[in-house]
């Protein structure tokens, strides 16, 4: 077995090929602070494809496609590996959903979603590069404008 840059887990999820600068945002979106098991976060790892990349390994928790899609905006190239008995048993990539709810903030200070107690909501209008439109104020945002709630 090849040597792993971030050490091994027995069972859980490995999110690989995370755009380096998004590593901690991904951790936030997946609400990783709340997890009781071992979590390993790799940052500034070298990658042939991305130059530098991040990896997050979450012990005990098997993420679903739906959960993973939440990170599509900021880590579109991420690869998800489900590990059982220390082996990769399933791999999938993230899909950009058509509608994104909850975890992001509209960057328009005059948007109603920033003044009333409601969940934000965005429509994906372009997947590559990613562009989203606020359901309420209709302003467009790109990956750099994305701010988490």
């Amino acid at each position: 077995m090849k040597k792993l840059e971030v050490s091994a887990i027995k069972e859980g999820t490995v999110i690989d090929q995370i755009a380096n600068k998004s590593t901690f945002k991904v951790a936030n979106i997946l609400n990783i602070q709340k997890i009781k098991q071992v979590v390993l976060i790799g940052f500034n790892l070298s990658s042939k494809k991305l130059g530098k990349k991040g990896i997050i390994k979450i012990g005990g928790k098997l993420l679903t496609q739906e959960e993973v899609n939440k990170i599509a905006l900021i880590a579109p190239d991420a690869k998800v590996n489900i590990i059982k008995n220390s082996e990769v048993v399933k791999k999938f990539t993230v899909n950009i959903p058509d509608i994104i709810e909850e975890f992001m903030k509209c960057f328009n200070p005059n948007c109603v979603s920033n003044h009333q107690n409601i969940l934000s909501k965005f429509h994906v209008i372009n997947k590559n590069p990613i562009r989203i439109r606020c359901h309420y104020c209709e302003r467009h945002m790109g990956a750099d404008d994305i701010e988490l709630v």
């Binding site: 328009n108 005059n110 948007c111 109603v112 979603s113 003044h115 009333q116 107690n117 409601i118 209008i125 372009n126 562009r131 606020c134 359901h135 309420y136 104020c137 209709e138 302003r139 467009h140």
Partner: protein
């Protein structure tokens, strides 16, 4: 068969080409025929969280001409918002008092939130800097009247294209009709990237220029917008551009234009159109303003389901 019953009028993006054409057709009918009691027994609530006399009166007039009644407010002082009630709660309660809500609000997206919160139709009468779709239907109706067909036109948008929300929505609407668009503005007031992006998604052909003389000979319609002094950080900046975007009879005489060019403007005007323009064959903006009532009548009657 198109039915707009219970449809909200929030953003021009929500309308298909067929729906737009249908509304224009009904507007034409409303202009010709009086229908004094098709909305008898219906109540419209004008909720103006931000004052706007003209828009409020135009909805009120349209509703009353069709036999309906109007309730509402136009200042925050008397509403429970001042006591901290959420917009969602307010409109859910008001929903019980009326058949349709017309909303003007200072927050962008407030009308979408309202529409998502209530079951009755909601009309956006302007929310913040974003959309003002009923004005767009008025503009389209004026274009259709001027040209009889709104397909394949060359349309110039002149002035403040950065903040002019009516220009934004009109460009969206015209993207259904294979328009060639010319955006004529100073560099600091260009069409925002968001709108350009939506137009590109729709494969619209457009060109951005700084001077009307570069494209004047191509235009079938020239849509002017207000250039507001307040938008400029430096008064000198304003002084520099204002003349360039000011139309008058003599400016028009000096330009190469089509004989049947028509000029539109959502009004009120400030400095950008001289009164000398009013007497020219190009001026269409007063007729455009008068279409406000039949177009709003058509919108109210179709979403309230009395015209199918």
């Amino acid at each position: 068969m198109i039915s707009l019953k219970d449809k909200d009028i929030i953003s021009i993006l929500d309308f298909t080409k067929e729906e737009i054409l249908y509304i224009l057709e009904i507007s034409g009918r409303m202009e010709k025929e009086a229908c004094p009691d098709i909305l008898k027994g219906k109540i419209l609530a004008n909720l103006f969280f931000e004052p706007s006399t003209r828009t409020r009166l135009s909805f009120e007039a349209a509703m009353k001409r069709l036999g309906g009644q109007v309730i509402g407010f136009d200042e925050l002082g008397t509403t429970s918002t001042v006591k901290g009630e959420s917009l969602r709660d307010s409109v859910k309660i008001i929903e019980g008092y009326c058949d349709i809500i017309v909303l003007r609000h200072f927050l962008e997206g407030a009308s979408r939130l309202t529409a998502d919160s209530v079951g009755i139709p909601v009309v956006n009468a302007g929310d913040g800097a974003s959309q003002h779709p009923t004005q767009t239907f008025v503009d389209l109706y004026a274009i259709k009247k001027a040209k009889s067909d709104i397909e394949n036109l060359s349309v110039g948008f002149l002035g403040d294209l950065k903040y002019g929300r009516t220009a934004h929505s009109l460009a969206y609407a015209l993207s259904h009709f294979n328009a060639d668009m010319y955006f004529i503005s100073p560099p600091s007031l260009r069409m925002p990237k968001d709108y350009i992006e939506e137009l590109e998604i729709r494969n619209v052909s457009y060109q951005e220029v700084e001077s009307i003389s570069e494209v004047s000979d191509k235009l079938d319609i020239l849509y002017c917008t207000r250039i507001q002094k307040e938008r400029f950080a430096e008064p000198v900046e304003y002084e520099k551009v204002k003349g360039l975007y000011k139309l008058s009879k003599s400016v028009m005489d000096g330009l190469k234009v089509k004989d049947d060019l028509k000029i539109l403007h959502p009004l009120p005007r400030v400095d950008e159109m001289d009164e000398s323009l009013d007497e020219t064959e190009y001026a269409m903006y007063f007729q455009q303003a008068h279409s406000g009532i039949p177009v709003r009548e058509a919108l109210l009657a179709t979403v309230l389901g009395v015209i199918q």
